[in-house]
Symmetry: C2
Subunit: 114 residues, 2 copies
DNA sequence: CCAGACTGATACGGCTCCGAAACGACCCCC
DNA sequence: GGGGGTCGTTTCGGAGCCGTATCAGTCTGG
């Protein structure tokens, strides 16, 4: 189902959503953190550090550090892969799901008002 | 003209656009910087430091610093207000307009493919 | 003409993030 | 069972941003 945003609509949407993210008192996630979080919740598991690094085109430490900070916020969790203990599996959390649900609501509401 | 994104569409759109921003080799703007830039280009001038700080709900130094960094990238310019020399007027640049034009294209293309 | 209000900029200490390199833990297979 | 490769993590110096407090320049009203 195509959405077909015009140039002005696209920028207005991005502006209003960014503004609402800045103005609420949640800790701002960086664009990289947001990309990681959305990838974890939208794409099929399993998710590994290396896989995410490849998908985003960034280095592994970037992923490790982003998981550290988002783990402190309880947006994601890490667990060792028992099949191959070198791997770390990144998992979703209730808080993370709620966070993205609210984000989707924000985007949806703003898109309807444009 | 309502856009009416579903939850999954909203998150997919945000995911794909964020991902494309991470993957291109431009320096990532923070969410605050992006909000400032979009405000300058979407809302009617004049734009002052104090006005932007109020609009975003942040302190004045945040605006000054964001204008410093985006000024280095030539996305915005500053000029003294000759009517009231206490004020600084923030102005658009060609590079800034092109940057946002490409962003709008990205959002538009992705929205059409969802 | 000058005290006080108001502007944007700056100093400071602290926190986060970055990229590159090195690290320990682990698996596989000869 | 041991060497080579693959994990994710850590370390290091450097850079950017934060909030608070303070600054110098400018305006305005008595």
């Amino acid at each position: 189902m195509p959405v077909a945003l015009t140039t002005a609509q696209a920028l207005t949407l991005w502006h209003d959503v960014s503004l609402s993210m800045v103005k609420d008192d949640e800790p701002d996630l960086s664009i990289r953190q947001m990309s990681i979080l959305l990838t974890i919740y939208l794409e099929a598991p399993p998710h590994t550090v290396r896989g995410l690094a490849g998908k985003l085109g960034v280095s592994k430490p970037v992923i490790t550090r982003a998981l550290d900070s988002m783990g402190k916020l309880e947006l994601v969790t890490r667990r060792r892969d028992e099949k191959d203990r070198r791997n770390v599996l990144i998992q979703r959390t209730v808080k993370g799901a709620l966070y993205l649900e609210r984000l989707a609501d924000t985007i949806g509401n703003i898109s309807r008002s444009i």
